[in-house]
Symmetry: C2
C-alpha cells in the first residue's frame, strides 16, 4: 500500500464484514437520493479524476514498476502488463465514461407496470436498487470508476476488490472517488475497496449484507466463487463463440467477419473459437479463409473434412477443441451439413454467450436467431459486438452467461431489482373471497 | 403408483438425468411454437381435465385414504389433508385456471428494446423461454396444471416433483395433461413428473439440462436445496411480514387489516407475524386490538411496553419472537417510536417479503414505500394481497424472497429470459475503432 495519499481511504480494520455492514447502511440512504444529486455527484467525480490525473498516473507507475519486474521474470504476460498501464489519456477516458453514465436515463423508479386491482387499490411494479453489490476483478484499474459510477447511478453501494498488481492505482482512484462522494454529501461507505484475498473469502458468507456478487475473471475463478458463495453470483464462465458460414453467405463479408471475430482481441470472451462452414461452400471458402487466418498469425485446427480440403494440410481438431475457449490466436474449423447441424453443434459445445450466422438467406438467419439458445445471436456481424458499450448500455459491470436476472452484457439494469408498491384504502384479502371482485385493469 | 391408468405416463427408467435430457430436447422445440398453438393446447388440456374429472377424483380418493390413516395416527395435519383433497369442483377450478393462462398476453418475443447501433446494424432485446424449469412442491395437486400451464405458455419444458402423499393424483393429472399435449403435437418430454427423492437429489446436479429450480416448501427445505444445487434456485425462504400502525392511522381500518393479515390464512407466507404500533396511539389502539385478536383465537406476545398497556397482561415476546415466522395463530406486538424506528425493526428482522404501513398521512406512507426494502410494500392494505393471482399475474409459479431475476409473486415473466438479436450487414468490431461511429439510437 502506498503511504501518504491514503488520508481519506477506507479503514482496513474489520475486514469485509465491517465494510459490508457499512455498505448496507449506506445503501439504505443511497436508495432514496434523487437522480439529480446522483448525476451531480458523478460529474463532480469525473472532474476530480481529471484534476488528480498526476496522482493517479504516479500511483500507477509504482504498480507498473513491480509488474515489469514480474514480466521480466516471466511471471506476468505482456497483455496483462498492458492492461495495467494508466496514462493521462486513460484518465481522461475514465472521466468521460463517468460523464456518459451521468447522461444515461435514470434506472430507478421506472414503472414496469401499474395495475388497478380494484377501486382504490393500485399495484405499481417499480425499479429500485439491489442494495449492495460486490465486484471482484483483475488488473484493469479503469474498472474502478466504471463500476463505481454504474453503482452510484443505480443507487447501489459497491464493494470492489481488484488485483494486487493494481493496488496502488486502485487505491488512488478510490480515494479520489470517495472525496468527491463526500463533498457531494453521499453516505460514507457507499464505495469501498476490499484489500485481500481473505476479505474476498469472508465476503462470500455475508449474504445478509451483500445482494450480488460479480466475479470478473476466468472460468475457474468464477466457478470457484459460485461454489463457495451463499450470495447470488452473476458472471460469465466462458465464451465459446461460433461463427457459422451458411451456404448462402456472402463470402467476402464472411472473410472480414471471421478475421475480426478471431483476431480483433483474441483474449476477449466474445472472440470466436470455432468456425462452422457449410459443406456446400467449404471447398470454395475454406482454403482462402484459412490462408488469411494463417497470414494473420492464427493457428488453425480442422475437422477431417477440412483437412481433406486444405491443400497445405492442417492440424487435426480433437473432440476437446470443440469444447475449448482458447482465448488466443487459435481457431478450430468444422464443416457442417446445413443449419440444423450447425445449431446442434452450437448447442452441444457452445457456452450460450454469442453465436453468429453469416448468410444472405434471411429465412435461414431468422431461424438461427430464434432457435439458437444464447445471450447474443447475430446475423452478418462479428461476435465481438457483445459488449456493454457497443450495445449502448453506457458501460458494463460484467457479462452474464446465465439466463437469470441479466443475460449478456450487463449494464445498470443488472444492478436494479423491483418492488411492488400497493396503495390501498383499507382493503382486506377476506373482502375478495365473496363480497368484492378484482378488476385487474392495467393503468 | 396406481396401475391401469398409466398407459401414457413418463417411463420411470433413467431417472432425473434422462428426464432432464428429454426436457432439454423438448425445450428446443417448444421455444419456437407459435402463441396460437400454445394457447390451443392449453384450451384442449383444460377440456381434457374436465372430461376426466372422475378419474382424477378417483385417483385422489386413493391418496386421501392413505392420508386419512396418517392423520388418524397423528402423522399428517388436518390442514395438509385438506390441501390434498380434490373434488369435481376443484377440477373445474383447475381447468378454469388453465384457460385463464391461455388468455394472458404472450410472454415470448416481447421486444424489451430496439437500438440502432449504426446504419444497418440493429440490436433487439427480446424475451424468450428459460428452457427447462423444475418445480419441487408439496401436497397441493392443483400445482400440477397451474405450473404446467404457465410453463407451456412461456415455451418452457417442465419437470415436476410433488409430494408422495399426492402421488396418484399427480400421476393422473399429468397423464391427462400429456395426452392433450400429444394430441396437440407438442414435443414429448415437455412436461414430466419425477417420482422420488433420489430423482430430486440427482436433479440438483443437472445444470446442463435444467435452467431453473423452484422449490416450494418451508425455509429449511428451500435452503437445503439451494446449498446443494448447481442450478440457479428461486424460492422463498420465509415470510416474516409486519403490519405497522402509524400514529396517523385510521384505527378502525387498522383493526380490520391487522385481523385479516394475521387470521385470514395464518399458514401462508404473506400472513403477518409482527404488529408494530406507534407509541403515540398504542394505549388507545392496542387494548381493543389485542382483545379482538384473542377473540379470533390468536395468541399475542408483546414487548415490555405492550405488557404495561394491556390491562389483562400479556405473554412477553423475546428477541427470538421478532425473528420467527410462526405460520400459525400467534402474533408478536412491539411498540415503536415512529416511522424510522419501525423501518429499522423491519430491516433488522424482516425477510424482505411484504411489509405494510397503515396511516392516513400520505407523506409517511410514501416514505415507508420507498425506504422499506421488501418485495411488497403496502399502504393501507393487508399483507395477504401478496399473491400472483391477486396481483393479476394469472397464477404464480412461486414467490421469490430474493432480489434477482424475479421478486415477490412470480408469474410467467419469471420463466422467461431474453436474448439480444443483432442484425447486421457485414460489420466488424474493428470498423468502430476509428472508421465508423455508433449511433445508439433507440428505435
Amino acid at each position: 500500500m502506498s503511504a501518504g495519499s491514503n488520508k481519506t481511504r477506507v479503514p482496513e480494520t474489520g475486514g469485509a464484514a465491517e465494510a459490508a455492514k457499512r455498505a448496507r447502511a449506506a445503501s439504505r440512504k443511497l436508495a432514496v437520493i434523487s437522480e439529480q444529486q446522483r448525476n451531480a455527484t458523478l460529474l463532480l467525480a469525473a472532474e476530480r479524476l481529471e484534476e488528480n490525473e498526476g496522482q493517479i498516473v504516479a500511483a500507477n507507475a509504482e504498480d507498473v514498476r513491480a509488474a515489469e519486474a514480474l514480466a521480466r521474470a516471466g511471471k506476468m504476460s505482456q497483455a496483462m502488463l498492458a492492461r495495467l498501464r494508466v496514462t493521462e489519456k486513460s484518465v481522461a477516458g475514465m472521466a468521460e465514461k463517468v460523464r456518459s453514465v451521468a447522461r444515461l436515463p435514470d434506472p430507478l423508479g421506472r414503472k414496469l407496470s401499474v395495475t388497478e386491482l380494484d377501486a382504490g387499490l393500485v399495484l405499481t411494479k417499480e425499479t429500485c436498487p439491489l442494495g449492495v453489490v460486490a465486484v471482484v476483478f483483475e488488473s484493469r484499474p479503469d474498472v474502478v470508476p466504471q463500476v463505481a459510477s454504474l453503482a452510484l447511478k443505480s443507487g447501489n453501494a459497491i464493494l470492489l476488490k481488484g488485483g494486487s498488481e493494481a493496488a496502488h492505482t486502485n487505491e488512488s482512484l478510490m480515494t479520489i472517488w470517495n472525496s468527491a462522494l463526500q463533498e457531494s454529501g453521499m453516505p460514507s461507505g457507499a464505495a469501498q475497496l476490499l484489500h485481500s484475498r481473505a476479505d474476498v473469502m469472508e465476503l462470500l458468507q455475508l449474504e445478509r449484507d451483500v445482494d450480488l456478487l460479480i466475479p470478473r475473471g476466468g472460468k475457474e475463478f468464477v466457478e470457484s466463487i459460485s461454489r463457495q458463495s451463499r450470495i447470488p453470483v452473476l458472471g460469465h464462465g466462458e465464451g465459446i463463440c461460433h461463427v457459422y458460414v451458411h451456404a448462402a453467405a456472402d463470402l467476402q463479408k464472411a472473410e472480414r467477419i471471421v478475421l475480426d471475430a478471431k483476431t480483433d482481441y483474441p483474449a476477449a470472451c466474445n472472440a470466436a473459437e470455432t468456425l462452422l462452414v457449410d459443406a456446400a461452400i467449404a471447398s470454395q471458402f475454406l482454403p482462402r479463409m484459412i490462408e488469411q487466418l494463417r497470414a494473420a498469425g492464427v493457428e488453425v485446427r480442422g475437422c477431417e473434412r477440412t483437412g481433406a480440403i486444405v491443400p497445405s494440410g492442417i492440424d487435426a481438431a480433437s473432440e476437446r477443441d470443440w469444447a475449448t475457449e482458447y482465448g488466443e490466436m487459435i481457431l478450430s474449423v468444422k464443416i457442417v451439413d446445413g443449419l440444423d447441424d450447425a445449431i446442434a453443434h452450437i448447442h452441444q459445445y457452445g457456452s450460450n454467450h454469442t453465436e453468429a450466422i453469416l448468410t444472405e438467406d434471411s429465412a435461414a438467419a431468422e431461424r438461427f436467431l430464434s432457435e439458437v439458445d444464447a445471450a447474443g445471436v447475430y446475423h452478418n456481424a462479428s461476435t465481438r459486438f457483445a459488449d456493454g458499450y457497443r450495445y449502448g448500455l453506457g458501460a458494463e459491470v460484467g457479462i452474464s452467461n446465465g439466463k437469470l436476472h441479466a443475460r449478456g452484457p450487463m449494464g445498470m439494469d443488472g444492478l436494479t431489482t423491483y418492488k411492488y408498491k400497493l396503495r390501498g384504502s383499507g382493503q382486506t384479502a377476506a373482502d375478495y373471497k365473496s363480497a368484492k371482485k378484482f378488476t385487474h385493469r392495467p393503468l
